[in-house]
């Protein structure tokens, strides 16, 4: 079976996913909601990290001391995570812009009070 770190990482990923969801569900402030989303997304970072990691292998950068072509940690998941980080940053920027705008229009930042449409 897997290594201790992968158990810890797996549990951490689940925990971040759920606690992030909990934050979004109970949020009373749109900025707080954005931050909860970043926590939620951190669960994907942790999951990808432990999937790609192999104990004892170096980072996939073949400069000092690492022979080109030798085994290394998974570079594919790292590339995916780079994309993921950009996505996170931009989504949060968009949401913050919406937040500012909502506050301008309706004077509130509580997602439970902006409901003009229901039913």
């Amino acid at each position: 079976m897997g290594h201790a770190f992968s158990y810890a990482g797996y549990v951490t990923a689940i925990w971040l996913f759920l606690i992030g969801l909990y934050g979004v569900v109970t949020s009373r402030h749109l900025v707080h909601l954005c931050l909860s989303l970043t926590v939620l997304q951190a669960s994907t970072y942790v999951l990808f990290t432990i999937i790609g990691f192999r104990p004892g292998l170096p980072a996939p950068i073949f400069t000092d001391g690492v022979t080109p072509g030798s085994p290394a940690v998974d570079p594919v998941v790292q590339a995916l995570m780079l994309t993921d980080i950009v996505v996170e940053a931009t989504v949060v920027a968009l949401l913050l812009a919406i937040t500012v705008r909502i506050h301008r229009r309706s004077g509130t930042t509580d997602p439970n009070q902006v409901d003009m449409m229901r039913g």
């Binding site: 994907t44 999951l47 999937i51 989504v91 919406i98 039913g119």
Partner: protein
């Protein structure tokens, strides 16, 4: 196939050029450029559809053919078949219609509107054509970002912002859940290519529960996008308030793209490996489809705001299309594809109708309007034709589609599903008819029971120029889309079943993508058939639908006295459930996310218990 990347690449280049030149480009130049781009993309996607009908086209970006790597896919590929390319054609057709409609539309803040719309087009085309799981996620996220930007475009009022917020939060969480799914599958199969992942899973060492959970997480984002119960709440909020050209795309194709992705993922990645669990998956999807269709239809009938009404009708029809997919049968899938094309065009046409009313009368509210105007009568007639199409009546493509999956349901001894289909068709079309009767023909008096508690949404005027007339570039796309919804059946009606059978056979795609064998598709032993002979039962259903549609429309227009038998029965059947259900659609994003968590858990529980 040299043209394959162009549906994505051309809009992106034009978008970047427009953004760079936004300072000095004249508005009309932007309009013309956008129209030309979407027309070009339409031509290319139609060409791709035609070419791919002879065999799946696989296009490797960067030239990373897997043949050189012992058949392991190392790059990203487009995997183009008639379904994907056909859907991309629908996307570009509707984008073309949207740009035509917006010729005299709201002032653009520099070139931002055109730029974001073009990026949206590219993202949707990419989603239709890609054959890579992570690439699918990228286009999904690009679609969401562009959609949110477009949804909040007219942010002078608070409602568009609320819609954009709910859209952004729910879809982003869905995307992250899908990303977790991608991670789970990558950990087990070591690949991101759909065909390769499917092949590895079917070699099977991962166990049933892994398949279920991986599937569920992977499609979670697309369940949100396609607004199935209980992931559907955001849709009405976003669609009701987005600018009209954006609504055309949201309801016409974006939602359906979610369904397409689910079907694609299921058939290529999971179907072979999850063969023993097929019944559980079928039960889950049929249950969800029935719930979605009924719930959407009820809400739809209970609205007074035309756009919101159409949004709920989209939810209901998504239920029907999910039903077509959930039967897991090529005939039903072919019917679903036909239905999807017809529905996309009709819904787009109706949304253009809403845009015209907003342009002409500055309102789309059933009770605020109520002005007969000779000029608006052609529009009203087209709305009625649209309602006829929503009801799945001939000669619209929706009829030929619905007929097919009713047949398939009957073959699986699920005849009662025809009742659900009829209910959804009756309520959604009756709602549109009721609206047209009240608002455009000034019929009726009093309030309909169903409208009690429906939100009244103030809309801002989107157009400039003369409001006293309806320009041709507004009504023309509306009429042409309705005609297209009729004539689209002719070229594809008979070939659809063949490509549906191909769509459902992963080995074809595997050999095409991984390049091990020639990719000729041999139809299965019992080929899927398009049922030509209309049995008497389908005719009976149609008659019931027509009668029911007019009954509920008239009942909405001329409500009876409160204690009459009819109105008490109606209250029990429609009014009371609606009153109870309305609070669920609370407009609060926290509620929606709680329901999403519930949905993932519930779907998983159903699959695990039935497996």
């Amino acid at each position: 196939m040299q043209f394959a990347p162009l549906p994505v690449v051309i809009p992106l280049i034009v978008a970047a050029a427009m953004a760079a030149g936004s300072g000095f480009l004249h508005r009309r130049v932007l309009d013309l450029g956008a129209l030309a781009t979407s027309a070009a993309v339409l031509a290319i996607t139609l060409h791709l559809t035609a070419v791919s009908s002879k065999g799946v086209i696989v296009y490797w970006f960067g030239g990373w053919q897997p043949v050189a790597y012992s058949h392991f896919p190392i790059g990203i590929c487009f995997m183009i078949d008639p379904f994907g390319a056909g859907l991309a054609s629908l996307v570009s057709l509707l984008v073309l219609a949207a740009f035509t409609f917006s010729w005299s539309y709201f002032e653009s803040v520099k070139a931002l509107y055109h730029t974001v719309m073009l990026v949206f087009l590219a993202a949707m085309c990419g989603l239709c054509l890609t054959g890579d799981l992570f690439n699918l996620f990228v286009w999904f996220e690009l679609m969401t970002a562009a959609g949110v930007a477009l949804c909040g475009y007219k942010s002078e009022e608070s409602q568009p912002l609320q819609g954009a917020l709910n859209f952004a939060v729910t879809n982003t969480i869905g995307a992250f859940t899908s990303l977790i799914g991608v991670g789970l599958l990558y950990s087990c199969t070591g690949s991101l290519n759909m065909a390769e992942v499917g092949a590895t899973l079917s070699r099977g060492s991962s166990g049933h529960s892994f398949l279920i959970v991986g599937f569920l997480f992977l499609i979670a984002g697309f369940l949100v996008k396609s607004a199935t119960v209980p992931f559907h709440f955001w849709l009405a909020d976003a669609h009701a308030v987005a600018p009209t050209p954006v609504c055309i795309l949201f309801s016409g194709v974006m939602v359906e793209l979610g369904l397409y992705a689910i079907a694609r993922i299921y058939w290529i990645v999971f179907a072979a490996a999850s063969q023993p669990m097929m019944n559980a998956i079928r039960t889950l999807f049929l249950t969800v489809a029935v719930l979605t269709a009924i719930l959407g239809a009820l809400y739809c009938y209970g609205q007074r705001h035309l756009k919101r009404m159409l949004a709920f009708s989209t939810i209901s029809h998504v239920g029907l299309m999910l039903l077509a997919f959930g039967l897991l049968d090529p005939t039903a899938l072919a019917g679903g594809a036909l239905y999807l094309l017809g529905h996309g065009m009709i819904k787009a046409s109706l949304f253009i109708g809403a845009g015209i009313l907003l342009h002409r009368f500055r309102s789309v509210d059933e009770y605020d309007l109520g002005r007969v105007n000779r000029q608006i009568i052609p529009i009203a007639l087209m709305m009625i034709a649209g309602a006829w199409g929503l009801a799945g009546l001939p000669p619209f493509a929706t009829y030929f589609g619905a007929e097919q999956f009713e047949h398939a349901a009957a073959e699986q001894h699920l005849t009662w599903l025809a009742g659900v289909i009829a209910f959804s068709e009756i309520m959604t079309s009756a709602a549109v008819l009721r609206f047209t009767g009240r608002a455009l023909f000034n019929l009726g008096r009093g309030y309909s029971i169903a409208s009690r508690g429906a939100p009244h949404i103030h809309m801002e005027v989107e157009t400039h120029g003369k409001h006293s007339r309806v320009p041709a570039f507004m009504w023309l796309p509306m009429a042409l889309l309705l005609l297209a919804a009729i004539f689209v059946t002719i070229p594809i009606r008979h070939s659809a079943a063949h490509y549906a059978a191909q769509f459902e056979s992963a080995p074809v795609y595997e050999s095409a993508v991984l390049g091990q064998n020639p990719s000729q598709f041999v139809p299965p032993q019992r080929p899927a058939v398009i049922h030509d002979e209309s049995t008497s039962s389908t005719w009976w259903t149609r008659i019931v639908v027509v009668v029911g549609m007019f009954f509920f429309a008239l009942l909405g227009i001329f409500p009876r006295r409160r204690n009459s038998v009819v109105s008490r029965a109606l209250y029990r059947a429609i009014g009371y459930p609606l009153l109870r259900l309305r609070p669920l659609q609370s407009g609060r994003v926290g509620d929606y996310v709680a329901w999403m968590a519930f949905g993932i858990g519930a779907y998983g529980a159903v699959l695990l218990l039935l497996r």
